[in-house]
Chain length 190, copies 2
DNA sequence: ACACAAACGCATTGATCACTGCATTTAAAA
DNA sequence: TTTTAAATGCAGTGATCAATGCGTTTGTGT
């Protein structure tokens, strides 16, 4: 990956400066192109044109479509969902799962996940889920800090994250909140 | 999709005929290019060259990279795994899950799944899992035919297929047979 | 205000891609 | 064997892409 995929420019990095304005425009262009993607393939000149920026800039800042998608996915999947704190693990997980279900149902999200996986491989795939893993871990560790037993991160991933992402990516079934909460019931014994 | 994605040619369809020989060569070229994919993107001229076939042929038979990948994925994920029949649902599922884990661990498989999802979207994604869904359904229905209770297909998908595919596609953890069998234990109450 | 470095816009180049008529070969059918 | 339809090979076209060198603008530090 290029050294400036998510660049900390020594100059011009003020929020609202030109640099970050272009970054936002390019990100928005990528998401727009992915949603109403007729069949025009996602390419750097196309993204640049849509963002009102010269292709050269995109080539130099991101280098390739894969790195660009990884960057978009990383920022898209960061901070969007807040780790809930309802007092109980079950409550936290139920709210979290249904939030994630809603998030994955966003028309913008699915194409982004698919494209990132397909174009950026390992890097892209982990960009789509790393944050979720950490959030899950946070909830489980908090439960243990309360002195209660909690499932392992691995087990919770298999029981929650996996079905949510699988259903979104591989099927066309709806990710309903009820179904998401049912996943939690299967994970946590009564 | 083109009318001849998986063509039943009225002539020249003998197994071993030229038509099927080219099809096999193209399929093999796709898989080879996906495995040792330096960073050369998968394109029709590249595939054709690797297969020793003219690009025109590939364009006419498949139309686009997406449809080609869908075709490769469909045939790759068909018949490779036989539905086991051990006499008990638990035995069937355990063997099936660990077979699938092994299959998904094949170095050829993962890049194919990722590329197909990314390029062929909905079509491609379902091509990677439809057969698995049916196999799972077959085992569950057989159990019910024995007069025993069995989980729903949805539940079994969430508990088995989802973790297997999720771990393969989104993480870099190993898909061990032990872990696969543990998934079955969580699905089936003792 | 001034100077400096970084980022961006612009024009251009070579390479590759998607695609299309036309000739040829293949293989089944008559 | 002859006929016939389909599939493939071949050459070429316009369009797009990735990449580069150079001048200009932006924003920061002095």
């Amino acid at each position: 990956m290029s050294a400036s995929a998510s660049p900390p420019p020594r100059t011009g990095s003020r929020p609202g400066g030109r640099s970050s304005r272009i970054r936002a425009a390019v990100h928005r262009a990528v998401e727009e192109l992915l949603t109403d993607q007729g069949d025009e393939l996602l390419t750097i000149p196309v993204v640049a044109a849509r963002a009102g920026v010269h292709a050269t800039t995109v080539y130099r800042r991101w280098g390739s479509v894969g790195e660009l998608l990884t960057d978009v996915a990383t920022s898209r999947f960061s901070g969007d969902i807040v780790v809930p704190d309802t007092g109980s693990l079950r409550g936290d997980l139920e709210r979290y799962a249904s939030n994630l279900a809603k998030d994955l149902s966003d028309p913008d999200t699915l194409p982004l996940v698919r494209a990132t996986i397909g174009t950026a491989g390992e890097q892209g795939a982990s960009a789509c889920t790393r944050e979720r893993q950490e959030q899950l871990r946070a909830m489980l560790e908090r439960e243990e800090a309360r002195g209660h037993q909690a499932p392992t991160v691995e087990r919770a991933t298999d029981a929650l994250l996996a079905p949510l992402y699988y259903r979104a990516v591989f099927t066309n079934q709806a990710l309903t909140p009820e179904w998401a909460r049912a996943l939690v019931s299967h994970l946590l014994p009564d």
